[in-house]
């Protein structure tokens, strides 16, 4: 057990864990401190200069870098802090493409959250925007795109690829007037070492890295990825009768919130027009659609003729436990043979 630390934020009593930083402790207690570059999965860097606080009336310090200490009195706002934040946010906005209505992230944009907190009005946002950045949008990846004009250089994507994915496909690129993020050599995503896992897209606080087809799920169902033996926990996002999105399950010990490209983006086969929707019976070399009853009757009568060693079944590493259990039970108990196998070996 780590030790508990007691202190106050804006006069409110807080109980935090030793080693936690002030920003995380505040957020955990529903106290908002503006921030852009902080992400709970990543090591704090204090780059965006928004999360400043004053401790015991002293100098302003970045709350994401400051560990909690017993008995301190933290202030999240003061004229000094406000002024510092205002400068930081206005600089960011000045560089940011502000077409919020057309932005995929608009419903969930940390830049808008910070702006709202700071009381920056939309008209003012418009006036603040000065550099007409018009960098090309990278649409090379089939699943997501990167619009550098919306990037706030928080570095979350860079650190995600480094610290979480362990790949390091992204970095800061100095382009003279301004810094941008990009792949090694600033190549399009698909030509880089990027593995398309989408971890950076999930964490981008604005709409710079965003899914190409943002879909809004009306409800979610907790399940497990269909592909490999890692068994990542996922939530399927459903709209109407269709799966429209996948989100990683952070509670599942198998993946703790991570996914690969197949798990995150590989679900569209479910609605593919090639899906079999009717039993098919081959007649004179051609498949004809049939009703279940007809197909089942035919199978039952044919299988009855091949009991014992004349029968074999191939179970499936893609089917559920219950289904595999039934297939082998059927083979052994009904057909009277142990000739049941699957492709475990391949």
């Amino acid at each position: 057990m780590t030790n508990q630390i007691n202190f106050t934020i804006d006069g409110q009593e807080i109980v935090a864990q030793e080693g936690q930083n002030i920003l995380d402790a505040a957020l955990a207690n529903d106290i908002y401190i503006p921030h852009l570059c902080h992400h709970p999965d990543l090591k704090p860097v204090g780059a965006c200069r928004l999360c400043g606080v004053e401790i015991d009336g002293g100098h302003m310090t970045m709350s994401c870098l400051e560990p909690v200490r017993e008995g301190i009195d933290v202030r999240t706002d003061s004229p000094v802090i406000y002024q510092a934040r205002k400068i930081a946010i206005e600089l960011l906005i000045a560089d940011h493409h502000m077409d919020c209505l057309a932005c995929a992230a608009a419903h969930d944009c940390d830049l808008l959250t910070v702006s709202a907190y700071m009381g920056v009005q939309p008209e003012r946002l418009e006036r603040l925007r000065k550099t007409e950045r018009d960098l090309p949008i990278d649409t090379s990846n089939p699943f997501f795109q990167f619009d550098p004009n919306k990037c706030v250089i928080c570095g979350i994507c860079v650190r995600t690829c480094d610290e979480i994915v362990g790949l390091g496909a992204l970095g800061f690129i100095d382009r003279g007037v301004s810094t941008v993020v990009g792949t090694f050599g600033n190549k399009p995503f698909v030509e880089s070492v990027c593995e398309s896992c989408g971890e950076c897209v999930v964490r981008c606080p604005v709409g710079a890295l965003a899914p190409k087809k943002p879909e809004f799920a009306a409800r979610e169902v907790q399940t497990t990825c269909v592909y490999c033996g890692v068994g990542c926990g996922i939530y399927l996002g459903i709209s109407g009768d269709e799966v429209v999105s996948v989100r990683a399950d952070r509670e599942r010990p198998t993946n703790e919130g991570s996914l690969c490209v197949k798990g995150r983006y590989g679900f569209n086969f479910i609605n593919h027009p090639d899906r079999l929707t009717k039993p098919l019976i081959k007649k004179n070399g051609e498949f004809e659609e049939a009703e279940w009853d007809e197909a089942l009757e035919l199978i039952a009568s044919k299988f009855a003729e091949s009991k014992g060693e004349k029968f074999a079944a191939l179970a499936s590493a893609k089917c559920t436990l219950e289904e595999n259990y039934l297939i082998q039970k059927f083979t052994r108990a009904v057909m009277g043979t142990n000739s049941v196998d699957h492709c475990a070996r391949l």
Partner: protein, 530 residues
């Protein structure tokens, strides 16, 4: 896996042999890379320069098929330097002396010759694995898909026993299982020699137990394996085949033979799948199955964790969950014991006859699942196996003396290259699902024969051009990619693309025990398409 995925974080040494983890098990691959960044020593042994090599401390490149020699060489070094965990061996293992005697053959010179790896490097890997503990070992098909795959697995186990890297947290012998429920299909007795829970069919008490549970008389004869089934169909001995969710025309070694078997006119062939796969096209009846998003149930991952899948949307068209279909066939045949109304009821029956799943129920696995063995409803499941004692009747871990065996096919003047198979990050197995996801297909849309610059030079092959790859069983047409990833003498292909069906040329030579075909070593020749 004897141990759990999360334990990778705590391992001081991670040894990955015969596995391309970032492609085949990407989220575990991510975790390994992360661990390496956070200070774990990552050792990689692979014929090819796989992605993990970038973050590995030591990378050795044994020739395909030389794993037993490599692993036994490591064991020999460890004993020569007295780095073994003698207390662990004395207390927990048996057959040590026989095993030790078998190491005589694995002299440094012999190991170097067979593996092509300099002895100092073998020594370096062995030294780290034996001394920088806890050390966790991971392997996949690169170890098992050989005519001597069982020996390879034993060699891996010998190494872990010798160093006491088993039965403790962040250690273990960890085979990475391929498909989402391949572990579960084995657990459920989807194997010709065992009932659910690995209860052998040849043991009379087991048979009696299941005959009582299922109310039927059953066979005590071990059934046919995957490969043997197709032989038996070909010979007309098996006349009815019920195939659920498989596509052996792309996944089985020597797939041409599979096709010939399935074209036997006397066969009644039922295929059950979500798509009309290459193999299902040969069926007499095709039954439309519901996808994973359209049904309830549970699957077991590579770390033995039983997890839920849930129905999120209704089945497409008239498709039905596989459990429903099998139950209906049985009921149509007038059988009892198949009248289930939900998968949770089936799971309850599984728990009643399968001791290692005895405590599993849908209710208990709702959130994060449970890891078997989980014997009763109070059992919290098992994070890692062999704690304190081995899961064998006498509680001892068994050393196995081994000798080196050549691969069934070796290169010669006519077939001078070794072809080994691999997987792409973007596709899964025979790719019936992934190739129907437009974005994945866009990222990776065709097969490549990867070969080394030196071999490309020698055989006059340019990067990107069409070639034909010949083996003793046939040929496939594919585009060549010249890359440093392959060492001289070794080329590789995946098996995801029906346009270039790699497994029509791979070697079906079987491991005598595990009956796994040798798809990792096929002697081939590469020619330009003129």
């Amino acid at each position: 896996m004897t141990n759990s995925i999360k334990e990778i974080d705590g391992a001081k040494t991670i040894f990955v042999i015969g596995a391309n983890t970032t492609n085949a098990h990407p989220v575990i691959g991510q975790r390994m890379r992360r661990a390496a960044q956070n200070g774990a020593i990552l050792l990689v042994a692979n014929p090819k320069e796989i992605d993990l090599v970038r973050v590995a401390h030591t990378f050795i490149q044994p020739k395909p098929g030389s794993d037993t020699a490599l692993l036994m060489g490591m064991c020999r070094y460890i004993l020569d330097k007295d780095l073994q965990d003698q207390a662990f061996i004395d207390e927990h293992c048996e057959n040590f002396d026989e095993f030790k005697a078998s190491l005589d053959a694995f002299t440094p010179e012999f190991v170097e010759e067979i593996t092509g790896v300099p002895w100092e490097q073998v020594a370096k890997v062995a030294h780290t694995y034996a001394t920088n503990k806890p050390a966790a070992l991971f392997y996949a098909m690169g170890i098992t898909q050989h005519s001597h795959g069982t020996d390879n697995v034993m060699a891996v186990a010998n190494l872990a026993l010798l160093t006491g890297n088993i039965g403790k947290e962040s250690t273990g012998v960890n085979p990475l299982r391929g498909q989402n429920n391949v572990q579960g299909a084995c657990d459920m007795g989807g194997l010709p020699n065992v009932y659910p829970g690995y209860q052998n069919v040849t043991i009379p008490e087991n048979k009696a137990k299941f005959e009582k549970a299922w109310g039927k008389l059953m066979s005590d004869k071990v059934g046919l394996t995957h490969t043997e089934i197709f032989d038996a169909i070909y010979e007309g001995k098996v006349t009815a085949l019920y195939m659920v969710g498989e596509n052996p025309l792309l996944t089985e070694a020597n797939a041409k033979h599979v096709r010939e078997a399935l074209e036997n006119p006397d066969l009644f062939f039922v295929a059950q799948d979500i798509f009309l796969s290459e193999t299902a096209q040969l069926a007499d009846v095709v039954l439309p199955a519901a996808s994973f998003a359209e049904k309830d149930g549970a699957i077991t991952n590579t770390e033995r964790r039983v997890q839920r899948i849930r129905k999120a949307i209704p089945p497409r068209g008239d498709s039905k969950p596989d459990w429903w279909i099998t139950s209906q066939i049985a009921q149509k045949m007038g059988e009892h014991g198949f009248d289930f109304s939900a998968p949770s009821e089936i799971m309850d029956e599984i728990a009643s006859v399968t001791p290692i799943y005895g405590g599993i129920s849908h209710e208990r696995i709702e959130e994060v699942g449970l890891q078997w063995p989980c014997r009763d409803e109070n059992d919290p499941g098992t994070q890692y196996l062999h704690k304190g004692k081995f899961a064998r009747p006498n509680g001892k871990g068994q050393f196995v003396p081994l000798e080196y065996k050549q691969s069934a096919e070796i290169v010669d003047a006519e077939y001078p290259l070794i072809l080994t198979t691999d997987r792409s990050l973007y596709h899964y197995h025979s790719a019936t699902m992934t190739r129907r996801v437009a974005g994945l297909e866009e990222l990776d849309s065709n097969e490549w024969l990867k070969l080394s610059p030196a071999d490309a030079d020698q055989f006059g092959i340019e990067d990107g051009e069409w070639v034909e790859v010949y083996s003793r069983r046939g040929k496939v047409k594919v585009r060549a990619q010249v890359t440093d990833v392959c060492p001289t003498g070794v080329c590789s292909m995946t098996f995801h693309f029906h346009e270039s069906p790699t497994n029509e040329i791979t070697n079906p030579a079987l491991d005598p025990v595990a009956k796994i075909p040798e798809t990792k070593v096929t002697a081939v020749r590469v020619e330009k398409v003129s």
